[in-house]
């Protein structure tokens, strides 16, 4: 099954055979989950999102156009789910305040390097968390998923111009947050070890 293209796998699903479900899941679940996790800042919700996205993929398989990119379609479903989730105001409170850091416990990291990475990671998470949902969505898809502005526009349901603006504003904010304390606390500690 793993030699088939996304489109070929989806054709099988559209014919009512769910055998490719596992393969498609393996191809995209990591990206979907990471996007949802960073977008929602909540691991549990990201699990729900991931599961729902793939269930919807099966359920609405007939809506998938054979000439479209499956990743774009899946991210559209994911982004929709996430926006719905965030719209429910009571879900805002569930944002995991911190810190689900999941660094690989690899021996190549010295404790200092590990600390540095963790600090950096924390700063990035805080900075991303300070963005508006729209900006965060755009930057996550652009920076972490490598999608084009045209694809992001499809997923976010806005114009390419709007995506451009969102990414720009996001980068402005992130730049301020992430470059502000260069030479400050964390860097200083690491520089003097």
């Amino acid at each position: 099954m793993n030699h088939l293209s996304d489109q070929e796998l989806m054709k099988i699903v559209q014919a009512g055979d769910y055998a490719p479900a596992s393969e498609i899941y393996d191809r995209y679940s990591g990206r979907i989950y990471n996007f949802a996790f960073r977008f929602l800042k909540n691991a549990e919700a990201a699990e729900d999102a991931t599961q729902e996205v793939f269930v919807r993929m099966i359920k609405y398989a007939s809506q998938f156009q054979g000439d479209a990119k499956l990743s774009t379609w899946l991210f559209s479903i994911t982004a929709n789910w996430c926006r719905d989730y965030l719209r429910k105001s009571d879900n805002k409170a569930k944002e995991a305040e911190d810190v689900l850091l999941s660094l690989p416990a690899s021996s190549e990291y010295s404790p200092e390097r590990d600390l540095e990475r963790r600090e950096s990671e924390l700063r990035v998470k805080r900075a991303l968390g300070a963005l508006t949902a729209e900006q965060r969505e755009a930057i996550l898809l652009s920076r972490y998923q490598g999608l084009s502005y045209a694809e992001i526009a499809l997923i976010a349901g806005c114009s390419e111009g709007a995506v451009k603006t969102r990414v720009f504003r996001a980068m402005e904010t992130l730049k301020k947050a992430l470059t502000a304390d260069v030479g400050g606390g964390g860097r200083w500690l690491n520089a003097t070890r």
């Binding site: 009512g16 729902e52 269930v55 920076r143 990414v167 992130l174 730049k175 992430l178 260069v182």
Partner: protein, 338 residues
């Protein structure tokens, strides 16, 4: 200056290499010749690079299991706590048989989600719908339900005809187990092994006088794995196993039951009586040997064997037509008793 502003706005595009060739060249030329924009570009690149410090997180394996089980693509149907469900959809005409079975999920996550239903008898609750059905769906999971443990009473009312029992321990470290079965619908109960609702349910699974159920042996194996942990010991489980030992017509099932009892501690008097009865009356020598081993474990664990037990052991040790291994084992056990 206006050019610098425009350049600024283009920098994210430059980072993602989304500019056309000409624009890109022009941007780089400007940056090379403008100190302000060069500094800005450096900051952009540092930011972009630092964003890369966010590690990828791994999707927990349970998500895939849930997904496959939800769409019915996994026959061993590993259902574990799920917080979201599809809304009911219309039932298609040609479903696979195993999927056409009504399905429901009972969840015991120890949470408060269904806390208001704590005293309700075991029954299927409608699950919260999370998406609207907007078209003909290729399949229906309308009958798949999520129930919280606290929604069901430990007292199983009536004698529900539960079928196709399966067991789930998706994450051995989280003190959550699951029991899946069909009633009029598919149900999965998950929760701590010590949860009374689960203990009763498992006892019921074990006790049901349905010795043809293919799930009985699995049930016992699984109970053994779960309840031989002293932290999970429960006399009701032991009693249920004792009943299996007395009543099941399949020797394989009785052997599993007695093996499980052997590993469980501490034993109730009901367990001990069942072991003695098995030793006296079970037609299968393997069961009788295991019963002796179980009694031996009891003795080692400090349970005093009463006169009736010792009489039975003596009778066995000297019974001419008894299996020689049984006789030797009985004699051994007698010699171990102080």
């Amino acid at each position: 200056m206006a050019e610098c502003d425009a350049m600024n706005e283009q920098m994210p595009l430059l980072l993602t290499e989304s500019l056309g060739r000409e624009e890109r060249e022009r941007a780089h030329q400007h940056i090379e010749n403008c100190a302000a924009c060069a500094a800005e570009w450096k900051a952009y690149r540092a930011t972009w690079s630092e964003l890369g410090e966010l590690p990828e997180v791994e999707v927990p394996a349970r998500v895939k299991e849930q997904f496959l089980s939800t769409i019915g693509a996994s026959r061993d149907s590993k259902v574990i706590p799920m917080r979201s469900r599809l809304a009911p959809g219309p039932r298609p005409s040609a479903l696979p048989r195993w999927f056409a079975q009504a399905a429901a999920v009972v969840i015991l996550v120890g949470g408060s989600y269904y806390a208001g239903n704590r005293t309700a008898p075991l029954r299927v609750l409608p699950s919260p719908a999370t998406i609207q059905s907007v078209e003909q769906t290729p399949y229906s999971i309308a009958e798949t339900r999520v129930l919280n443990a606290s929604a069901i009473s430990p007292n199983i009312e009536g004698r529900p005809n539960i079928q196709n029992v399966q067991f789930v321990d998706a994450d051995a470290s989280d003190n959550q187990i699951g029991v899946s079965f069909d009633v009029t619908s598919r149900v999965t109960v998950t929760g701590a092994p010590t949860d009374k609702s689960l203990v009763r349910l498992l006892s019921y699974v074990l006790e049901r006088d349905n010795s043809t159920s293919p799930s009985r042996s699995n049930a016992i194996d699984w109970v053994r794995r779960t309840y031989s942990d002293p932290n999970h010991a429960d006399p009701e489980i032991a009693d249920a196993l004792a009943k299996v030992l007395r009543n099941d017509t399949h020797e394989g099932v009785r052997i599993r039951a007695v093996e499980t009892l052997k590993d469980m501690s501490p034993a109730s008097s009901g367990t001990r009586d069942a072991l003695i009865d098995a030793l006296k009356n079970d037609p299968n020598p393997a069961v009788r040997i295991k019963a002796l081993e179980a009694l031996s474990n009891l003795a080692k664990a400090g349970t005093a064997l009463d006169a009736k037990t010792i009489d039975t052991l003596r009778a066995k040790a000297s019974q001419d037509d008894e299996n020689p291994y049984v006789r030797v084992k009985a004699a051994e056990l007698l010699s171990e008793i102080p």
